[in-house]
Symmetry: C4
Subunit: 261 residues, 4 copies
Amino acid sequence: MTVWRPDDPPRTRISTCLFRRSLAEFVGTGLLLAAVIGSGIAAQRLNPHDAGLELLENAAATAAALVAIILAVAPVSGAHLNPVVTLADWLLGGISASDGLVYGVAQIGGGVTGAVVANLMFGLPAVVMSAKIRGGPGVWLGEIVATFGLLLVIFGGIRSGRAAAVPFSVGAYIGGAYWFTSSTSFANPAVTIARTLSDTFAGIAPTSVPPFLAAQLAGLLLAIGVVRILYPAVGIRHKPTDVPGRDATVAPTAGADQSTA
Amino acid sequence: MTVWRPDDPPRTRISTCLFRRSLAEFVGTGLLLAAVIGSGIAAQRLNPHDAGLELLENAAATAAALVAIILAVAPVSGAHLNPVVTLADWLLGGISASDGLVYGVAQIGGGVTGAVVANLMFGLPAVVMSAKIRGGPGVWLGEIVATFGLLLVIFGGIRSGRAAAVPFSVGAYIGGAYWFTSSTSFANPAVTIARTLSDTFAGIAPTSVPPFLAAQLAGLLLAIGVVRILYPAVGIRHKPTDVPGRDATVAPTAGADQSTA
Amino acid sequence: MTVWRPDDPPRTRISTCLFRRSLAEFVGTGLLLAAVIGSGIAAQRLNPHDAGLELLENAAATAAALVAIILAVAPVSGAHLNPVVTLADWLLGGISASDGLVYGVAQIGGGVTGAVVANLMFGLPAVVMSAKIRGGPGVWLGEIVATFGLLLVIFGGIRSGRAAAVPFSVGAYIGGAYWFTSSTSFANPAVTIARTLSDTFAGIAPTSVPPFLAAQLAGLLLAIGVVRILYPAVGIRHKPTDVPGRDATVAPTAGADQSTA
Amino acid sequence: MTVWRPDDPPRTRISTCLFRRSLAEFVGTGLLLAAVIGSGIAAQRLNPHDAGLELLENAAATAAALVAIILAVAPVSGAHLNPVVTLADWLLGGISASDGLVYGVAQIGGGVTGAVVANLMFGLPAVVMSAKIRGGPGVWLGEIVATFGLLLVIFGGIRSGRAAAVPFSVGAYIGGAYWFTSSTSFANPAVTIARTLSDTFAGIAPTSVPPFLAAQLAGLLLAIGVVRILYPAVGIRHKPTDVPGRDATVAPTAGADQSTA
C-alpha cells in the first residue's frame, strides 16, 4: 500500500505551494482534533452521568466545526484532513503519491497537535494515553460503513461537479454517523491516532487502533469500487472539495496553486 | 396501482444505465436505513429512560444523514430512496413505469440490507421481527400529513427549478416531521418495510405495516392534487432531486443517463 | 391599520392566480401550525418533566420544518405565512392591499386548520381553547424584539438581492428566537390566533392574544423604520422570499404569477 | 494597537453612508448580544440543574441567530459585529482606521444595548454586573484558539471569493466552539464587555475581562500570520462577509457604500 513510486519527480516538487497546502492540512486537521477532543471533554464534564447527551453534544460540535474548517481551508489544499481521503484521491488520480505522503504527514502532525491543544485548553496534561478499549466485530463493521459512506459523500459530490455543497454534506454526514455507526465514526486514521493521546470521552486505546485502521481501509476499497461504478472516471485530475473555478484545471503534479485569485 | 403497462418497450431498457441508477437507489436507501435504525439503537442504549432524548437523537442523526445521502447519489438516480416518491414521479411524468418498478425493488432491497447492517453493527442478530405495534386514527392521519408534506417539499422544489436546495429541504422536513407528526413520519414504504426487521427503537410490527402504506398512498394522492394546482404541469420529464444541468433533458424512457460529465 | 383603499381596482383582481397564491399561503401556514403545535405536544408527552428539553425539541422541529415549508411554497406566493410580513410587504410596496387582505385570510384559515390537524394527529379533540396565560412587560418586549428581528432578517435578505438565503435565515432566526426572546417568539398573528385552539405546550389563552398582536405591530413599525434606513427604497415591487428569476418583474397589482416556468 | 493615524482625512468622512454602516453594526451586535444573553437566561431557568443542556441550548440558539443576523446586515456593513474582526480587516487593508474606530464604538454600544434588552425581556434589572469569574491558563488558551479559528474561517472564506458561505460557516464555527474551547468562545471584545452587564448564565465578571481581551488579541495576531501564508495578499480592499457583487470594488477609504442596488 505504499504510495511512493520511484519514477516520481524529485523533491523539488515540494515547493512553496506544497508548503502552503500542507500547512492548510496541518491547521485544518489540528482544529478538527481540537474540536473532537475538546467538545468531548466539555460534554463529559457538564453531563458526567448522561452518555447520550455527551454524544449528542460531541456530535453536534464536531459536525458544526467540521463544516467551518472545511470551508476555511478547502481552497488551499482541498481540505482532505484525512489520510483515507488523500489515499482515495490518489487512487482516483487526483493527487500525486509524493504530495499525498506530505499531506498524510501534515494531517497526522496536525491531529496530534490538536489533541495536545485540546488537553491543555481543559487543564489536562499535554498527553495522556487513552485506556478506552474500542472494538469487536460490530464496531469494526461500523467503521467500515462509516468510511464507505464518508468517501461516497465526498467523491459523489466532487465527481458530479457540486463541490460547493461538500463542506455541508461532510459535516452533516459525520454528525449523523457519530450516532448511526456503532464505532461513532472515526473514519479517519489521523483522527484515530490523535485520539489515543487523550484519556477522555473521545479517546481510544492504542491497542484498539490497528483494527480501526484496517476497517477504514476496507471501507475505502469498497467506496472506490462503488464510486467508480456510480461516477465513471472523469478523466481529469481534480480536488476533492470546495474549489470554485478550478475544478478542471489542476495539473497532475499540482505544481501550481490556483485556488486564490 | 399497477405501474407496468403491456405496451412498454421490452426488457432491453434495463441497460447498464438503469443498473447504475438502481445501484444508487440501493446504496442510498441502504445507508438511509442504516442511519434510521442504527441511530435508534444507539439512542435507546445511551438514553434508555428518556424517550424524548431518544427521538431527538434519532431525528437529528436521520436528518443529517439524509442530507448527505441525497447529495451523494442524486446526480445518478435522482435520489428517490422512497417508492412513494418514485410513484409520484411516475404520476407526474418523470419516470417510466418499468424504470419505476426497478427503482422500487432496489429501494426495498437496499432498505432491507441497511436494516440488517444496522443490526449487525450493534451486535444484534441480522434480523429480529419487530413487536412494536404502531397505529390508530391519529397516527394514520399523522402518516398522511407526513407523506403529503414530504412530496410537497420535493416537487415544490423541483418544479420551480430549485433542485439544488431539495437535499437540504428534505433533510430539514424529515427532521421536523419526526417530531410534529404523531407517526414520527415514516412516509416511505421501503423504510416502513425495512423497519419491521429490527426489534429496536425504530421498529414497527409487520401487522402495523398495511395501514401505514395505505396512509402513505392517501398522502401521495393529496400531494399530487395540490402540486398540480400550485405548480401546473411543466411539460417535460424531469428528475426529482439535485441534478444540475440536466433538468430539462431526460427523455421519457430514460434510456440514457446524462448525470455525470 | 386597514389596508384596503377605495381607489384600489375592483374585485376582478382576485383571479385564478390569486387563488393559487392564497392556496400556497393556506397550505404553508397550515403545515407551519401543524409543526409548531404538533411538535409541542410530542415534546410535552415525551419529556413531561423537562421544560428545557421540551422547548429545545419544539424549537428544533419548528425551525427545520419552517425551512422546508418556505422552500416548498415560496415560488408561488412568496411564503409570507404571516400577516405581519404581508403588512410589511404592503407598507414597503410589495403587495397590493386587496391581495394582502386575501393573504391574511388564507394565513389565518390555514393556521386554524393546522392547529386542528395537530390536535387530531395526537388524539385530542379538534379544538380545546388554551388556558395558558402569557404576558407581562418583559414578554411583550420579547415579542417586539422577536418581530423586529424577523422582519429585519426577511427584508434585509430580500432588498439586497439574496432571496435564495432567506428560507434558511428565517428558519435559523426562529429557532434561535424561541430561546432568546422571553415570549418564545410568536412574531406572527396567524400563529398567535391558531395557538389559542390547542390547550397544550404551544397554546396561548385568548385573553393573552391582544397584547401579543400589539407588540407584533410595534415590532413591525420599528423594523420598517430600520429597514428603510439600512436598505433605502429599491424602486420596484418585489416578493419577500426565494423567487429566482423574477425579483424585478412583478407588477404592482400582481395580476399575473410568473413564479413557475 | 492604535488604529488612528494623524494623516487620515478629517471627520468629514463620517458621512451618511458611514452612519448607515454603523447603524447596521449597532443593530446587528445588539441582536447578537440579546441572543447570547437571552438564550442563556432562558436555558438557566428551564434547566437549572443541567449545565450541559444549558450550554447546548445557549450554543444552538446563538449559532442559529448569528447566521440570520449576519445575513440580515452584511450587505450594509460587512457584518463584522466584532472589534477583533474589524481590527483584522484594518490590518489586512479592508477598512480605514477611522471607519474602524466608528465600527468599534457602534459594536460596543450595540452590545451593551443588547445586554440591557435581554435583561429587561426576562424581567431582570437593566444592568447587574456579573460576578462570574472566568479565567486560568487553559481558559485563556481556549480564547486564543477560539479567536484564531474564527478569523481563519472568516478571512479564509472572504479571500477565496466564497463570501456567500461565510454567514453559515461563522454560525457553525461559533456553535461548535462554544463546546470545544474551554472558554466557551467569547472571541469578541464587544461581546466580552457586554456580557459583564448580566449576572446570569452568560455573564463574566469585569475583573476577568482584561486577560480575555489579551487572549483575543493573541489569537488575532496568530490568525493574521496564518491567513497571510494560506491566502497571500489579494491586492484590493475587500469586505469580510457576504457582499455579492462588490468584492473587488470598495475603495480604501470606503467613502461610498455600494452594497445595495
